[in-house]
Amino acid sequence: QQELKVALVLPGPISDGTFNSAAHQGIKAAEQKYKIKVSIQENTQSAQIEAALTRYAREGYAIVIGHGFQFAEPAKKIHKRFPKTWFIVNTAKVAAAPNLASFDNRWGDAGYVAGAVAASVSKTGTVGHIGGIPVPVIQEYQEGFERGAKRIRPDIKVLTAVVGSFSDIAKGKEITLSLIERGADVVTATGNENVVGTIQAAKEKNVMAIGTAFDSAALAPETIVTTAIIRMDVNIDMAIGLVSSKKIEPKNYLLGFKENGVDLAPYRAFESKISDANKARIKQLIEDIKAGKVADLPKIR
């Protein structure tokens, strides 16, 4: 079998510690596993996307992965011109014959479980979510977070706020502080660097945090209860695997707990601090989600 050329086009820097780092780690893992040659482009602005995708396709890359929903339209626009290339868009719902597929994670499900965990461990009955910029997946996560929390504790108060930037770590921290001021004792955040600010604030104020997307428990082991992991590496692994085995179809692959595209990290330092009943409840919830038994999961946008 001949070596596949795979390109990963990222909207941000690989060092952001969340969204882009996750994709970077995924492709690194795939590099070990498959016989592929990888090229990565960072910090691609929306207007450069078309040019970037076109160029990789023209240079004969077999797989071009656009990491973010903003890659959907440009990919849709050009994919027909390069039938030998598979265009894969992450965190979007777009598909078109013959060679455009997308892989999306069920962020809403992840938020649902995160909300359930938050409600289980909260003492004040107030929890908070801080979004970077309310793009669809972040809105889904937020919706899931609220519903999951309410499922465990119908009287829970869920505070939400938006940073207005993915990179403004200082403002992410301040917003989190303001939610903590108002009683939140479990906080979670979605976005890029702004998530780090939320974790910082939680650490400083001795409240709990739930990580998202990327397991960064090492940043604050005493603060991070668990992480609602979005397995971007699984998306990438699946995409490359399906293309290699020629089994890929031009459709939207939606990955949830069942497909291992969403996961809950181990409790680590909190293992002993969470009651077994609560742990069992969460475990059961995840099983129910896998089994399709949870009715109020957020709608996929």
Partner: protein, 307 residues
Amino acid sequence: MDQIFFVGLVAAAFRLATPLVFAALGEAISQRAGVLNVGIEGIMLVGAFAGAWGSAATGSPWLGLGVAIAAGAAAAAVHGLLCLHFRVDQIVSGIALTVLGLGLSGYAYRLTLGSDRGVAIPSFARVDLGALGELPVLGPMLFQHHLLVYVALALAPLLWWFVNRTGWGLAIRACGEEPAAAHAAGIDVLRVRWGCVLVGGALAGAGGAYLSIAQIGNFVEDMVAGRGFIAIACVVYGRWNPFGVLLAALFFGAADAAQIRLQALNPDVPYQFFVMAPYVLAVGALVFVSRRSRLPAALGRPFTPPR
């Protein structure tokens, strides 16, 4: 391989330069009349949204473009009102306009297109230039673009002629250099400045619309991503001359196109170097080429007719 690289690069350069050309020419006109508009970024965003919305609502990208142009002019009118009428500092007003444009376009998007992801946004098709487009190398490089790309290229000579060869252009230059002299000669300085501010806004709106309804076919919050500021830099690099401005915009477009390509070819060189390179080059060129500032003498200074 090398030829593919080059063809792709030139084609991408035109695509990436076009929004800069529109916005920078608009800014140049405004600055030539003495009004600095650092809010061009916000106006482009308004234009990008208005273009997408208008196109989706009417089903025609041409009408969408019209809506974007009107919206751009309206956004610029805020700047005109603040600076020309209320005499607020131009930098203050421009910064406010940037933030306003970002907020309003994002909010309006959420209210309209964003709430309904199924809406199709009709976009400009590429022009079909027949045989020209089929030419082996030149075809993909030069003759397979959106019409707006050619409009942008044609705008530069048009504006040059307008500014340097017509009576209106003379009045504009006079207002930017010595408004008191223009006023004494019977020119209505405020009216000339108003006109240029509106035209500048309309062009910036068109630049934004190019992004949303020609290049991408979608609107994304903050999709202008700093192009408004680069457009201002293009005006300065281009020494306030429409041809110079066009060249500067093409340079940045080409640099961006090259940067994207070289990044992929040299994965070991950190991407930051590719991002910085055009600016370093451009500044370096300025150090050697032209040290004389051709800044319009009255740029940024308000003028009130004595009475």
